[in-house]
Amino acid sequence: MATTTPSTTPDERFARLDNEPMVVAGQPSKVFGGTFGIVREIFAHRQLLDLLIRRDLKSRYKDSALGFVWTLIRPITQLIIYYFVMGQILGAARSIPEFAVYIFSGLTIYGLFSEMIAGSTSSIVSNGGLIKKVYTPREIYPLASIGSALFNFGIQLVVLVGATIVTGAIPWHWDILYFFPSVVLVLIYGVAFGLLLAALNVYLRDMQYLVEVLLMLAMWASPIVYSWSMVSDRLAASHGWLLQLYTDNPITLAVLGFHRAFWIGGADTPYPDELLLRMGIAMLIGLVLVYAFHRVFARLQGNFAQEL
């Protein structure tokens, strides 16, 4: 039949197989340096990753008339609510210039983190059908949900840039480059915790509910709807260490970086000193966490199929 490589005779196949090395079934999770091996394996599966991301995105708004417009409507509504309720009615806008852009830039980068974490936490469980039946590197699933989070982030970014144009404060300055370390920082921590939580959620389904709560806390623990200077005014004198702790929280750093990049109105508000250095250190720590949490993931993934 023409369907399956008709030229291969049994003898040719046997000869080819004879030359192939025997590999251990499943992933070499106990082999030292497996993290580097898995990077290569995921690279080999990048088309699958791509398809899984597409599947996530396609199925999300399938059968809805507006489709992807919804990904725009949500953040815009959010923007309007925060602008009016927080800014105008509660009066937060009085102390923060360009409040709409301020709040939305923070929400955009935080939204990326929160969607990455929430998506990857449930990714292994929701792909249980696949994991139980087919072997692929399991890291693919959290990474795929991170990919679809990145796509939504891209859309929000468009809204954000649109908002800066509407308000007339186009971020056309060198500080726009803060965008990159901020996103990289969030990506590193998102991958690290995403892997850890995805694996833990298999064993303890409580994880996904816990994560919801923690994400809500994390949002209020970073200067998104209020400003960093408000916190530093309260804490600098009395609890200097607490301020440092608060500032060095990677999400705070990323949010601040985003403010630097997009929030023209606040160009002369105080920022913590050495923001880039702090980001750099946070990235290094984050990379160590990615490695460590991936080891945890690799150790736990052997039993995924039977726990699901």
Binding site: P10, D11, R13, M22, V24, A25, Q47, I131, K132, A305
Partner: protein, 413 residues
């Protein structure tokens, strides 16, 4: 333990030089069955108490096998014997607790058709996704897409979301994808049991074609006929241990004995059941003329079926009868006194009937006799299921439930 030394003739030449594709050495798999699954329960039953809330279960115990390329291996065993676990371990889906499994070549697992189909995506999108999961690149899938579509017979529905597919379409598409991934090793778990007959036929043909191409197939099936037909070698598992390995025919025989042992044990356990029915089939006996009791039936033998009945109240008019079924419950033969034109005398207490079956030519394998006592209308008063069992000698020249004298010759053009 190795089945490469097996004396069954291999399908392919050069059996001894065939490379090993899957090597299983001393593999054990432990499952821990937990009865607590939430954080609260886990915390409450932490430590010592936690161990009481979990049970250990060894699904595989010290299994070793070497599977040579190009062979078709059947995994047999009663439910819960570890067949599927072994297959999943080979597929790398679960990790063995002890021991190692090494393999080479491209592997495709047909553990569950349509695993990974997303209901909201169209057939076409799912084909690409599923092929990618099974290890095919985008370009390769595009090349094979037309073949996949033709084989599946889905037609224009390919651009419909799969949630609107009938279950048959779903299965056909999934199978079509799986077999077009050009595997060296194919793992098949019971999936051949789904789909209509025409589709099953197609699947089996495809598997035969795979065999000719020297692909290795590891098959889990409860259909012994299928194993005997398709496999050259088979392994019998029971409670996680390898009970037998060797030629498919021997393995099937061995497995039947295990099943028969279990059936008798279960029947004995179920025995003490009070019956308010006044009528009963008290005894059914199968006698093969000219052979020892329990000996295999040879083609052409005469079989006597003797059935004894009892009825507590007088019964003026009644019928007797029996059916012969295969071990899968397919009726092969059945007759009764009404069809044969025999009028029984009124039943007072007990009665006995003998049926004489001459020149019986059944295919090889075990058969069960169900005998019954019926009213004139045909309604059963009492049935004795699996009342007797006999085994027909295997037919070396053919398969199936009947024996036909066959000869083959080449036609010259």
């Amino acid at each position: 333990m190795s089945i490469t030394h097996d004396n069954a003739p291999g399908r392919l030449d050069g059996t001894d030089t065939r490379p090993t594709v899957v090597s299983i050495s001393n593999v054990s798999k432990k499952f821990v069955i937990r009865k607590d699954n939430s954080l609260k329960e886990r915390l409450v039953t932490l430590g010592r108490a936690g161990r009481r809330h979990s049970e250990e279960f060894w699904a595989l115990k010290d299994v070793s096998l070497d599977i040579p390329a190009g062979s078709t291996i059947g995994l047999l065993g009663p439910n819960g014997s570890g067949k599927s676990t072994l297959l999943k371990a080979i597929g790398g889906i679960i990790e063995p607790t002890k021991g190692t499994i090494t393999r080479r070549g491209r592997l495709a697992a047909l553990l569950e058709l349509g695993a990974g189909f997303h209901p909201d995506l169209t057939g076409r999108e799912n084909v690409f996704l599923n092929a990618s999961i099974l290890g095919l690149s985008q370009a390769e899938t595009e090349d094979k897409f037309d073949d996949i579509l033709t084989f599946s017979g889905i037609g224009d529905f390919i651009d419909t979301q799969v949630k609107f597919y009938s279950s048959g379409m779903y299965v056909r598409l999934a199978f079509a994808v799986a077999i077009h991934t050009d595997p060296d090793v194919l793992l098949v778990d019971e999936v051949l049991a789904v789909g209509d007959e025409a589709f099953q036929r197609k699947c089996l043909d495809k598997i035969r074609e795979f065999q000719q191409q020297g692909r290795t197939i590891i098959l889990v099936s409860h259909s012994l006929g299928q194993v005997q037909e398709l496999c050259d070698q088979a392994v019998v598992l029971s409670r996680g241990e390898v009970k037998f390995q060797g030629s498919a025919a021997d393995a099937v025989k061995n497995f039947r004995d295990i099943l028969e042992g279990r059936r008798i044990a279960e029947a004995e356990a179920a025995e003490p059941e009070e019956d308010a029915n006044p009528g009963a089939v008290t005894k059914t006996e199968v006698i093969v003329e000219g052979r020892e009791p329990g000996a295999e039936v040879q083609p052409g033998d005469t079989i006597l079926v003797r059935i004894e009945f009892s009825h507590t109240t007088p019964l003026d008019r009644w019928h007797s009868g029996f059916k012969i079924e295969t071990n899968l419950g397919t009726q092969v033969y059945g007759t009764d006194s009404r069809m044969l034109g025999l009028v029984h005398d009124p039943l007072r207490g007990t009665a006995a009937v003998e049926y004489r079956l001459t020149d019986v030519r059944l295919g090889g394998g075990p058969y069960f006799v169900h005998s019954f006592l019926a009213q004139p209308s045909g309604a059963h008063i009492a049935i004795q299921r699996q009342a007797a069992r006999f085994v027909v000698a295997d037919d070396d020249e053919a398969s199936g439930v009947i024996r036909i004298k066959a000869a083959a010759r080449a036609l010259t053009a």
